[in-house]
Symmetry: C2
Subunit: 194 residues, 2 copies
């Protein structure tokens, strides 16, 4: 059964080891921030740096594993119809809205949505790291300069991630203007039980 995350909101999802999570862009052009936390100990959380270390690339797609701060594999990307995701930038927040969109209404962003969704599992805001930003399109130039461009995902595109441990996932429909081409759309997801 496919569930829907309303625009600019987030949810927590429990995965047992072996389950798959399918994250779907139902309308196209929409980012979803994904945080993974060990179900048995909230101190173990997804890490971009450990993932870049072990995967030896910053661009993760089919076959890549996502690693924790304790050097364990949390998820493996089994299928990916897009191939463009970001793992460099932190979740949008009140502070990033103030910085990048001073003329727009403030919003708690993916950071606030993830903090609320994961609080019952013991994740405190200071512990929220860079999320795996599904469908987010952040090209990096040879001189290091980066830009946040509209996602390349089309309606129906998806990524399937297999849980390699028992996990709690924080998942959002992203709230930032630039990340989503200026409009806010829902995100769909489905858990496929092992």
């Amino acid at each position: 059964m496919t569930a829907r995350i309303a625009p600019r909101t987030g949810v927590a999802i429990e995965l047992a080891r072996g389950d798959a999570l399918v994250v779907i862009d139902p309308e196209g052009g929409q980012v979803s921030d994904l945080l993974a936390v060990s179900a048995s100990d909230a101190g173990e959380i997804i890490s971009n740096g450990r993932t870049f270390d072990y995967e030896e690339t910053t661009l993760l797609t089919t076959g890549a594993k996502l690693w924790s701060n304790r050097s364990n594999v949390m998820l493996e990307i089994e299928e990916d119809t897009v191939g463009v995701h970001d793992f460099l930038l932190t979740p949008c927040s009140v502070d990033t809205f103030r910085h990048f969109y001073p003329d727009k209404p403030l919003h708690r962003g993916c950071f606030g949505n993830l903090a609320e969704a994961l609080a019952p599992y013991g994740v405190v805001p200071d512990a929220i790291p860079v999320a795996f930003n599904v469908f987010m399109n952040v090209p990096v130039k040879p001189d290091g300069r980066l830009s946040v461009d509209p996602p390349t995902s089309k309606a129906g595109d998806f990524i399937r991630l297999r849980a390699e441990m028992d996990l709690v996932i924080g998942l959002t429909a992203c709230s930032a203007y630039a990340s989503n081409g200026g409009s806010f759309k829902p995100i769909d997801y489905r858990v496929e039980k092992a």
Copy 2:
């Protein structure tokens, strides 16, 4: 007065707002992992993701600011004779030695050295994020693939960072083979009081 960090070790350094920390490569070709933590609250710590967000680049040199997980500026790079540093990869650790150097003796690495140096200040190992890896040379290809190459720093090269808040700094002479061109050298540093 210049102090020396012995090869494969680390120290903690207290900086008041306005102080500058000069990190020097005395022999050339040696990496130094740098962590910054707020002196008033160990929950506030350096963040590669927030820094990439606000600086809009992954390559940080003179003029760039290093940001915290709470979106505050911790340090500004005032002078930099090298211009090649890494902010993608996590500190080397027992786990990375096991992964990358299965035939070499295990070492606790920069991760273990930083954990010990910062424990008195309330930093727990799970909270250690990607460090700002001074002089570390990690070229990233257009397809995202990265490599850990020898530093380009020569004997006497340095970087000067100005503290924008009261900080505790964890600083190492890095312990990993690839990062340092295969040999382990000291790192020098100097605090210039405001």
